[in-house]
Symmetry: C2
Subunit: 408 residues, 2 copies
């Protein structure tokens, strides 16, 4: 059950001029599932992306990296049901073949198509089913298909994830709409499994990768469900240049800052939606670590807490067995950490002071905080001024059931 | 249910001359549980130890490190039911007070007592209950109490873990007997939660830490249940000098090598017993990584596999969703890993070649291997000659149930 998350209202998802999306049921893994999408971009769109750091990256990730180097991208081709990862040279050939097939239909070059796959690893991509579905997907393409696009990338997600934002630049309305998917194998080291945001803003192509990177760092790179980094993580930002304002050519202009804020907020909303829909999740947990010497060590501590099965099962049980959080901080890998300086709060309850139990700490108060669906853990290392926040969920028997059954 | 593991037969646990153990029910956390042990060592015993690398180490670990620096150890004092970790200055004072109390009864110095605690973190050690139980424990002390000693350190363990070995040195029989505990919060970064091995071998005190370190590296430092490194990990080796052979003064003598082999084998047996009794475990999994440039990168890959909740739930389900293993190798942190060189076997089934699915791989064969209770995963990185092996277990709904309920 997703935690405080609902499916978006289709009419709240705003079209982005220059982007049309079409989806179909291609029977990639199972019949009757919307599993193939094409995104058609008008000429002139600028595209940036960030991809998984997993060394075992999927074939489509390798192709995306190539095609983003020097192409003007005209289409995205996305399938669910098969990750085309762990498939060697044959998988790479199949990913390329799918780009060629779509390019032929659109009368563009194969290098102008970005392929994305998500689903089971180490199975052969049924590229002929993709080819067979392309006509239906292309002919369904329309500016209003964002809800269907979000549905068409789901795997173990229980809800589609999508949202829009608008801002003003030079009196012009700029729109951003994005979608994401992911519920397990979530510990992005770059991006979520799949995330896409399009805007009609006018942005110099050279800035697109930096925008994507910044948004990913603020959002998808701060979440974890189970600590497993996917082979297919991809996050792409598209700017169609249609909003009519003066093109943004520097990241520090007022217009750029307004756009970056809107983009980052949207990415955070999508990233949090992934955690709220985390496999088996019953609670949304914010882990904030303050007082570090740098953000890197705050992240070590925050992720140690957020990955600990013992911490996550304690949250599932609403059991304030909070020594498990201290233990995780202790093994996070901060070399010279002084345990006697640690402070910890759960919500507003002061649990730990000077490394030990706070004298006025009452367990019942912590249990009450933990019983909520949205819980804040704050740890202060008291050795510097850096901070970070990571979002995660709890760990339930349902997670095991889902992942023991995923392929069946 | 433990995996292919039975409780030891009490009469198979051989006394070690110079060691007497006594246990009692001190009501540390709950009444009616054997939760306090004292180990009485004759004068002259040499003791070495290795301890958790968790920066949030428990008070007794801090005291052990101090007392091992320059004391001739005469007693061990072990409680279960309370870890005395995350307890600040007060916890340290209570650990010292427990040593002082036992020392007074034995007429030795407090520095000659090593304290050990295991159980819930961040709760106050009820030192007065330990003091009240000391007389009963000391008067119960006998050379034959190894089975009871193993019982008296259990927490979520379902079975006591203990074993003995004998070898000949210069025609003299040398005996080793050891015990260990641990089932969750197991990713020792030094030693298990608690492990103790005593031998009557004659060994120079200066060698003891090296012997303990080597045995831990061969055993407790190769296991993981849930990736959580405990605050209390401690592994201690005692040599009572009573076997009558010429004292061992160098690690490379023939006698030293025979003793080291026996010690390491015993430690491996105890470490594997911890994994076999891992919380919720239904399978014992050996993860062997070959072809690394050095052992460190083999360990990165092996632990990434062994910690992955997705890999562990697939084993629970006997579902050969083996792409999850490739994904774990990919995010293990081996910087320049070439995915196209990876080979993988499950048992004798060749699953992956050149980074992709082996052309003759048949899933049903892998499913048959996974259905067994003892499964070997072999990954070859094909970039060097280093190897390592890590032992772990699968991840079941029962793990979540145990850890959501642990304190109740």
């Amino acid at each position: 059950m997703p935690v405080d998350l609902q499916a978006p209202n289709p009419q709240d998802l705003l079209p982005v001029a220059g982007v049309r999306i079409g989806t179909t049921m291609a029977g990639i893994r199972k019949p009757g599932r919307r599993d193939l999408s094409v995104w058609l971009l008008d000429e002139g769109a600028a595209v940036g992306g960030v991809f998984t750091q997993n060394r075992y990256c999927a074939a489509p990730v390798q192709v995306c990296r190539e095609h983003l180097q020097d192409s003007s991208i005209r289409a995205l081709l996305i399938n669910t049901g098969n990750a085309n990862a762990g498939t060697g040279a044959d998988g790479l050939a199949r990913a390329r073949r799918s780009c060629t097939a779509l390019a032929a239909k659109l009368n563009v070059a194969p290098q102008q198509v970005l392929p994305f796959s998500t689903g089971v690893i180490m199975e052969t991509l049924p590229v002929e089913r993709i080819e067979a579905g392309l006509d239906a997907a292309v002919s369904a393409a329309a500016p209003t298909q964002w809800f269907e696009a979000a549905q068409a990338i789901m795997t173990t997600d229980t809800l589609p994830k999508a949202a829009s934002r608008q801002l003003q630049i030079e009196g012009r309305t700029v729109t951003l709409t994005g979608i994401a998917k992911g519920a397990g194998m979530i510990r992005p080291n770059m991006a979520t499994m799949l995330g896409f945001i399009a805007t009609d803003a006018c942005v110099a192509p050279a800035l697109m990768n930096a925008l994507a990177r910044e948004a990913a760092d603020a959002s998808f790179n701060r979440i974890t469900v189970d600590g497993d980094t996917s082979t297919n993580d991809s996050f792409v930002v598209i700017a169609t240049q249609r909003a009519g304002h003066t093109p943004i050519t520097a990241l520090d202009s007022a217009a750029a800052q307004a756009l970056r804020a809107a983009l980052n907020e949207l990415a955070v909303q999508l990233a949090q939606a992934i955690v709220r829909d985390g496999e088996g999740a019953t609670k949304f947990i914010r882990v904030q670590v303050d007082g570090g010497r740098d953000e890197a060590e705050c992240r070590l501590a925050a992720y140690a807490i957020a990955h600990s099965p013992l911490v996550k099962t304690a949250f599932f049980a609403s059991d304030p067995n909070l020594g498990r959080i201290l233990a995780a901080v202790g093994y996070a890998g901060i070399a010279d950490l002084d345990q006697n300086r640690i402070e910890m709060h759960l919500g507003e309850v002061h649990v730990v002071t000077a490394g030990g139990r706070h004298p006025e700490y009452v367990e019942a108060e912590a249990a009450e905080v933990m019983a909520g669906s949205d819980v804040l853990v704050r740890v202060n290392l008291n050795r510097g001024v850096a901070s970070t926040t990571v979002w995660t969920c709890d760990f339930s028997e349902e997670y095991v059931r889902i992942n023991a059954d995923y392929r069946s």
